[in-house]
């Protein structure tokens, strides 16, 4: 479990070309941006996208510290109902 699982939601899954991706642990904000292709990284860096670590929304996504075995969700603007 020396990995962090990235979960791409909504249109981020289209940008990423997949819904789930495993990346080396640990992972911080700069590591996340470096790992992602440019269009995806730009989108992730925008104010519109939020991050959750193991199901908990991060108030400050740049403070991300994801240990081995954790799950990071990348959440674009929602549209439900």
């Amino acid at each position: 479990m020396n990995v962090v699982t990235l979960v791409f939601l909504g249109k981020l899954a289209d940008l990423a070309g997949e819904s789930v991706r495993e990346v080396p642990a640990p992972l911080d904000w700069n590591g996340l941006l470096t790992l992602c292709e440019e269009p995806l990284a730009i989108e992730i860096a925008s104010e519109r996208v939020k991050l959750a670590l193991d199901g908990e929304l991060l108030a400050d996504k740049t403070a991300l510290v994801a240990p081995a075995g954790s799950e990071v969700a990348l959440l674009p603007p929602v549209s439900g109902g």
Partner: protein
């Protein structure tokens, strides 16, 4: 006060959920129910709702708890579909039983605004064989701001 929150991956029958829900709250003054369906317009062939399972149901449960605190309710039912739906299929159902109409109507209004703009769902529509992501509308955020 009873709260029921459900996610369905396949079609759900609104009337079959609302009937038992209201009968479970005898003595109520009013029950308000909203059902949202896939609209038949703009050549929409299908609608898909994806969600983040780990956060969706907990988020809906938090929403129900907020509504319970805020309105004087006897019962609250929140149901949401995920997956691919065709025009005419139910997407969302909120029903609230209360002693007075104001609580029931406002709770439904509140929950719908929050489900639209503050729950972990992402919507896309299939038109002419192509999928298009639906961006949140400014009016949905304005609707949400009414409750702050």
């Amino acid at each position: 006060m009873s709260v029921t929150v459900q996610l369905f991956e396949t079609a759900f029958p609104p009337a079959a959920l609302v009937g038992p829900f209201t009968r479970a709250h005898p003595g109520f003054g009013g029950v308000c129910t909203f059902v949202g369906e896939v609209r038949g317009e703009n050549d929409v062939e299908a609608l898909e709702l994806t969600h983040y399972e780990r956060m969706t149901l907990p988020g809906m449960e938090r929403l129900a708890a907020l509504a319970e605190q805020r309105f004087d309710l006897m019962g609250l039912l929140i149901v949401h579909r995920t997956g691919v739906m065709l025009p005419g299929e139910p997407v969302v159902l909120v029903s609230a039983c209360a002693r007075h109409r104001r609580g029931a109507i406002d709770a439904v209004d509140f929950c719908m605004d929050h489900l639209k703009a503050k729950s972990w769902f992402w919507k896309r529509e299939k038109r002419a064989g192509e999928w298009h992501w639906i961006e949140p509308r400014a009016e949905d955020h304005a609707a949400l701001a009414r409750w702050e």
